[in-house]
């Protein structure tokens, strides 16, 4: 499995984290190409269903980035995300999804460097965990 390149889906909030990613881009900072970014209006928009759906469709990891606590454009959307992700962190291992595959973090619009370090770190952690192969568990009988 030396050639394994993890597929990570990244949900980024429009107001902070996506701007942070933009900043990293305009500043031409280098980062791992493994995260597929989806812009959402708020990290609070990320339903648990989105995360499970990403795994169902073959993602090896899911990254959710939002504004720092206290900075949410919608006042407390990111706190709702925090509670949800804590609950998911407790439930997902029961479904065989290790905790390192799902990560919630905060990136502000000015933190291009932080964005890069989170992307690189997440990519390496998921690489170490290996591919998430839900489909290999499917029945052989049918």
């Amino acid at each position: 499995m030396n050639n394994f390149e993890p597929k990570v889906v990244g949900f980024l909030c429009n107001w902070c984290s996506y701007r942070g990613a933009d900043l990293a881009g305009t500043a031409r900072m280098k980062c791992a190409p493994n995260v597929r970014i989806i812009r959402v209006m708020c990290s609070g928009r990320v339903e648990p269903t989105f995360i499970l759906k990403a795994f169902q469709l073959g993602a090896d990891g899911v990254l959710v980035l939002g504004c720092h606590p206290g900075d949410c454009h919608y006042v407390e959307g990111n706190y709702k995300t925090l509670r949800r992700m804590k609950m998911l962190e407790k439930m997902l291992p029961q479904l065989g999804i290790e905790n390192g595959r799902v990560r919630l973090d905060w990136v502000s619009a000015s933190e291009g460097d932080r964005f890069v370090s989170i992307i690189d770190d997440m990519t390496e952690k998921v690489r170490a965990l290996g591919p998430f192969k839900q489909n290999s568990q499917e029945e052989k009988h049918d």
Binding site: P48, T49, K53, F55, E76, Y79, R84, L95, F132
Partner: protein
């Protein structure tokens, strides 16, 4: 008028759905006026060969309860699908997988280890497991193969209608039967119930603000009989469950466990409940949130109690 031909079958189920069919009480006489039962292993002496000998599409309606757990369940599902004009997944097991579907947290080997070795009342020093074929002096015996993964009926064959519930309530069963008898069938794929909204819509309890500092299990508190159970910290599944049952459990001071499945439009009932539950936690402090969540001992088993095989991931990944 020629009578309707009705087949009933149970796959991986507890038998509760069979009783639920009879729970329509005296209305069963009305059913008997218009319908003949042509196959019903629990109630009447038919053999599988009788079904095999029927012409294709000669049965008007098949009420199929139970999940698809082994080769026999799958065979009968396919056979009855071929013989029936209308296939109805009756009850939570065939609709969503239900309690048998919880076995999707494990696989065949882990299930067998538990059942035939680890259970305290089992003595099996030679580690004998069921075999699909075994030779005995009288010949070869065959039993159906046990699958790794429990499936719903719709994951196995084409299904026309779904009747939710563990087991379906009398009013729900009759709603479906009445539509059949009168020939007023809803569009294909309909989940037949009195409501498409969440159970809370028909729950008589008073609702104020949901702010939870601690979750309780039902044995830990005696809940107030008037107030919303979720507001009292019980994991009441009503917010993420289709209504139609009449909110019987909350009226008996017990939280809803979610047996009527997801509300219209929701794909994954467990994720939906998780999301709803997270939003009522009254804290913004990560450590306090963690403490509150730790009151839930088995989140996946609670959120996917009835719907693991029908969820997005269908099963846990076993290494």
């Amino acid at each position: 008028m020629t009578k309707l031909k009705v087949a009933l079958y149970w796959a991986a189920s507890c038998g509760g759905c069979e009783i639920a069919t009879l729970a329509i009480h005296e209305k069963i006489l009305k059913l008997a006026e218009v319908a003949d039962i042509v196959f019903w292993p629990v109630g009447l002496d038919f053999k599988y060969a009788d079904v095999e000998n029927m012409a294709d599409k000669s049965v008007d309606v098949c009420l199929f309860n139970g999940a698809i757990r082994n080769e026999e369940n799958e065979h009968l599902a396919k056979l009855l699908r071929a013989k029936s004009k209308i296939m109805i997944a009756y009850g939570s097991c065939s609709y969503e997988g239900c309690i048998p579907g919880l076995s999707n947290f494990y696989n065949r080997q882990l299930t067998f280890d538990r059942v035939y070795i680890e259970t305290p009342s089992t003595e099996n020093p030679d580690k004998i497991f069921p075999q699909t074929r075994v030779k005995v002096p009288e010949g070869e015996l065959e039993i159906p193969e046990f699958y790794d993964t429990v499936k719903t009926l719709a994951q196995t064959v084409d299904v026309d209608y779904f009747i939710p519930g563990c087991p379906p309530e009398e009013r729900t069963t009759w709603l479906a039967l009445e539509a059949l008898i009168e020939g007023k069938l809803p569009p294909k794929g309909t989940v037949i119930s009195h409501s498409v909204k969440a159970l809370c819509d028909e729950c008589p309890r008073t609702r104020e603000e949901k702010k939870i500092k601690k979750f309780y299990r039902p044995y830990e508190i005696i809940p107030d009989p008037e107030k919303c159970l979720l507001e009292q910290g019980l994991l009441c599944y009503g917010v993420a469950t289709r209504g139609g049952c009449g909110a019987l459990c909350p009226q008996a001071n017990m939280p809803c466990t979610g047996c009527y499945g997801p509300v219209e439009g929701v794909v994954d009932q467990g994720a939906h409940f998780l999301s709803a539950l997270s939003s009522v936690i009254d804290s913004n402090d990560p450590e306090e949130i963690q403490r509150i969540i730790d009151d839930i001992p088995d989140p996946a088993g609670t959120f996917y109690r009835y719907s693991l095989p029908d969820s997005l991931l269908r099963r846990a990944m076993i290494k």
